[in-house]
């Protein structure tokens, strides 16, 4: 009897039962909190909820208002500038630092620690530190003027047209250390023999990096990309600590718009509409990529 039971093919559902039971809480959390919460938010973004959520539908009104609001447009523009530049610079600088550390230099540990250290600080601390450094009276500008270069001008946080670059500097200072570490791990994972082969073939070092090493590090790049990108979309605390969105509304970001309209303006509907737009942006970026990435893997 028991023999015949065993010979039956176990149902797919019950394979690895322990593991499946163990992951039930996480599955529930994901479904209820993430999916459920998202659906709820999207639904209420079509209502005119103020302080309290109410199911009083007004169609796309909140979205019309959102896209007519100058502050939202400034926020989107800032996020684009900040996002593209921070993606490029943190990848390039992170990789360059990692490649340099990988050249078997002296005091590698020391340098690694120094570069990674800013990452141990929260965005709030980073924001405050850079607020002071970029303050025209006490910071970099003040010091250099004090050294005798009277006409030196560097006050990005007080200039509407370049304030977002001041925020970017702080973000890069904080974030590139992590990118460097990830890249370094990727570089260390490259087989020593590949370097030897490249050297035997007389390929210049830079060429080896560009044509051999970087393509081999694709998984590391993708992991890094996801980590940086998620950090970009939700950037909030850095701006709050460094500029509070100022001068005027010049350094506002979408996440801050959502928070301000939900809680300060007591207009949940508007805040939900803005957060739905943020979600939509992420979906538009992620879905095609995930389809390419995982869809292809599924077929092979």
């Amino acid at each position: 009897m028991s023999v015949s039971m065993k010979s039956e093919r176990p149902s797919r559902l019950f394979r690895n039962l322990n593991a499946k039971i163990a992951s039930v809480p996480m599955i529930l959390t994901a479904l209820v909190v993430f999916v459920g919460g998202t659906a709820w938010t999207v639904l209420y973004s079509f209502t005119n909820s103020r302080l309290l959520p109410r199911l009083n539908f007004v169609g796309l009104d909140q979205y019309y208002r959102l896209w007519a609001a100058p502050r939202w447009l400034v926020s989107i523009e800032n996020l684009l500038i900040y996002g593209v530049l921070s993606l490029i610079f943190s990848l390039v600088i992170g990789f360059l630092l990692a490649a340099m550390l990988d050249r078997k230099i002296r005091f590698e540990d020391t340098f690694r620690t120094i570069f990674l250290y800013p990452f141990a600080l929260s965005f709030i601390v980073t924001g405050l530190v850079w607020q002071w450094l970029l303050n025209p009276e006490f910071g970099i500008q003040g010091v250099i003027r004090g050294l005798g270069w009277e006409s030196f001008n560097f006050d990005p946080l007080y200039n509407s047209s370049i304030v977002i670059y001041g925020v970017l500097i702080a973000a890069l200072w904080q974030g590139t250390g992590l990118v460097m570490c990830l890249m370094l791990a990727g570089l260390r994972g490259i087989d020593e023999d590949i370097w030897k082969a490249a050297r035997v073939d007389g390929i210049p070092t830079w060429r080896t990096y560009v044509s051999i090493i970087i393509p081999m590090m694709r998984p590391v790049f993708i992991t890094t990309l996801v980590i940086i990108a998620s950090g970009i979309v939700k950037v909030y605390d850095l701006v709050v600590a460094q500029t509070s969105g100022g001068p005027g509304i010049a350094s506002e970001v979408p996440a801050k718009y959502v928070y301000d309209y939900m809680f300060f303006a007591q207009n949940l509907g508007q805040g939900f509409a803005a957060s739905t737009m943020m979600l939509l942006t992420v979906v538009i970026v992620i879905v095609p990529w995930a389809y390419l990435e995982f869809g292809r893997r599924g077929r092979t």
Partner: protein, 412 residues
């Protein structure tokens, strides 16, 4: 500081049962009064309430109203209400009342004859929704003051202005002497508030009400308001080199003579007092910018969430009575630098500027303020507009006025 207060509150709540006050009920009161003068004023309220045999548990939330209000509201809507909480009276708690989450105080009010003692009447009106009273006003704070540093004008060699126009005229001389003519901090509510003050001072009460109460968008786009935008344009030019964020940093520029003037509410007076400056000698104040002396009757009020515990509900009633008690009113408002809400109290200790305010109040030259007239949503849109207008010199007053009229048109 906060930790100490909390520790004291905890210690007090532990020792209290042994103190033999059998009927004592603990009531948690949340507020955002955390600066030195403010904390001293709250202590007066706590003392008065403790004297009734109940116990005040202090729930101070640091970081100004913008930070505190979301916390308070989410506690009330989330089913963990406090005993009482501060709001600016007006429309901040309107929806909470409509949702039936706040306690109706009409019985206490009728007993205490609030309609007779509270002055001006508009204070109680903004606590009243559908004929029922939901809050206790505790003070009057008005926005419409121009604070001037006498020292700065002396240094620039021009007489201290008597009104806004004279300040604008004196601006070039001040700038030549290296003084910022007008300090406006970077926080959005400051530029938005300064604009409202300009409108009330230049346009007068009727203009102000036509825009903010009647919400007449056509009028807001018209020539009367264009004049106000012209003044705001002057203001932002004078404020160009302020480079500070917080309002008290901006006030500090006036105190130290780095800036000549600031448009700010009467709470700025606390800063002058702490710095040891004397009204009339070191600094001057012009209510209504010297053009239109009026007092807006904004201010703080306490709201009481609906509680199930009967003991606590009773204590809420006692607290409501205590807050309006003449003695409490005097003690509290002297420390706070604000005006009392009762006309029948004596304020001999008031300084020059406070006396000016009391005079205007006695004459009845009062008007409602934006906290009472506009929803928080509209206020926020206005803040976005004016913080951009003040920071971005290339935005023309005409463009700003068009956007302003749009906001008024969609206001509620």
């Amino acid at each position: 500081m906060r930790f100490k207060m909390m520790a004291a509150a905890l210690a007090a709540s532990v020792t209290l049962p042994f103190a033999g006050v059998a009927s004592a009920t603990d009531l948690e009161v949340t507020h955002w009064w955390t600066s030195g003068g403010e904390a001293a004023a709250v202590a007066e309220l706590a003392k008065a309430f403790d004297a009734t045999g109940n116990h005040w548990i202090d729930g101070a939330i640091a970081g100004s109203g913008g930070t505190a209000r979301p916390i308070m509201i989410s506690r009330i809507t989330g089913g963990d209400p406090m005993g009482a909480t501060q709001f600016n009276h007006g429309r901040q708690a309107e929806e909470l009342v409509q949702a039936g989450l706040m306690r109706d105080l009409t019985d206490v009010a009728t007993k205490g004859k609030w309609t007779e003692v509270v002055r001006p009447k508009s204070l109680l009106d903004s606590c009243t929704i559908d004929g029922k009273i939901y809050c206790v006003p505790v003070n009057i704070h008005s926005w419409q003051w121009l604070w001037l540093s006498n020292e700065a004008f002396e240094k620039a060699g021009v007489p201290v202005p008597k009104n806004w126009d004279e300040l604008v005229a004196a601006a070039p001389a001040l700038e030549k002497a290296g003084i910022v003519p007008l300090a406006v901090g970077g926080q959005p509510w400051q530029s938005s508030g300064a604009f409202d003050v300009l409108m009330a001072a230049i346009g007068g009460k009727d203009t102000f009400l036509k825009v903010y109460e009647a919400k007449d968008a056509e009028f807001a786009a018209g020539p009367d308001i264009a004049k106000v935008f012209k003044a705001a344009d002057d203001a932002r030019k004078m404020a160009k080199n302020t480079n500070v964020q917080d309002w008290n940093q901006a006030t500090n520029m006036v105190i130290t003579g780095k800036a000549a003037a600031q448009i700010m509410g009467d709470w700025a007076q606390g800063e002058f007092q702490v710095a040891g400056k004397t009204a009339g000698k070191d600094y001057s104040c012009l209510p209504g910018l010297g053009l239109n002396p009026m007092i807006a009757t904004g201010g703080d009020a306490f709201y009481f969430p609906l509680l199930k515990d009967e003991e606590k509900s009773k204590a809420q009633g006692v607290l409501a009575e205590t807050l309006l008690d003449p003695k409490t009113q005097v003690a509290f408002n002297l420390k706070k630098g604000s005006l009392p809400v009762r006309g029948d109290v004596d304020l001999n200790a008031a300084n020059d500027c406070m006396k000016k305010g009391l005079d205007i109040l006695a004459k009845g030259d009062v008007m409602p303020w934006t906290d009472q007239l506009l929803s928080q949503d509209t206020q926020k849109q206005k803040e976005d507009l004016f913080s951009e207008f003040f920071a971005n010199q290339s935005m023309t007053p005409e463009d700003a006025q068009k956007r302003f009229a749009d906001i008024i048109g969609s206001a509620d």
